[in-house]
Symmetry: C2
Subunit: 138 residues, 2 copies
């Protein structure tokens, strides 16, 4: 999508899509929140093979939008840690609803992925598990 914003808008859908309504944003949020990735290289190596300049752009946009914080990795001098904020975690229902729809209509969905099993079995429990990963974060 063109990443140009349509602000200000009275429509909450337009507002939301201007932040994450493109081909890559929700996949980065998936990696951040569901797959618990934290480093630039982790996102780069996702199956979908996001380009590094796009990744840089989206992470910066997320920081500006208050969805992500960037901190130094204490374990690695030259490494940054990208973490989701509560504003990003509140997109879990969006991701879950999209996953439910995709699960239903994508014949290639890999149901052997543990998260898929959890989503079908007990969505609320999965949500709690995901959120608990961040309760100890700053």
């Amino acid at each position: 999508m063109s990443m140009t914003k349509r602000y200000p808008t009275v429509c909450p859908i337009v507002f939301s899509l201007d932040i994450f309504g493109d081909k890559w944003s929700l996949l980065i949020l998936r990696d951040l929140i569901i797959l618990n990735k934290r480093h630039f290289g982790d996102f780069l190596r996702s199956k979908e093979r996001i380009a590094s300049n796009i990744l840089t752009d989206r992470l910066e946009r997320f920081i500006q939008a208050g969805l992500v914080t960037k901190t130094d990795d204490p374990k690695n001098k030259s490494a940054a840690i990208y973490s989701p904020t509560s504003k990003a975690l509140e997109l879990i229902p969006v991701m879950f609803s999209i996953m439910h729809w995709g699960l239903k209509y994508n014949p290639d969905t890999d149901m052997s992925i543990p998260v898929m099993q959890e989503l079908k079995a007990d969505e609320k429990r999965l949500k709690e598990r995901l959120l608990s990963q961040f309760s100890d974060a700053s």
Copy 2:
């Protein structure tokens, strides 16, 4: 976004975003499902001012993906009616979750819009009302 598909994918999010993960698709679905629009010109005249070539493209993609059907308007010889299928209606939870998030963070949301009131007051009732609009459709 680039509208090139990443099929086949084992991820339900990737699958879904390849269908509606761009700047315009969910807005057209909003118009179809929530605002009950049916004609090409109605979509064109939405506040967001979608270009006619983009609209043509997305409607065709939706038809191919089984989200929309195109029929003749009995009341107007040279007019088509675009209607959502059940596969599209099952995206109501996706739209609602996005609206909830947008409502929370968009200071410019127009809460005087009746649908916004309904969403906050009783989401299930709103969903039932929307679905009832289509129960008499083919």
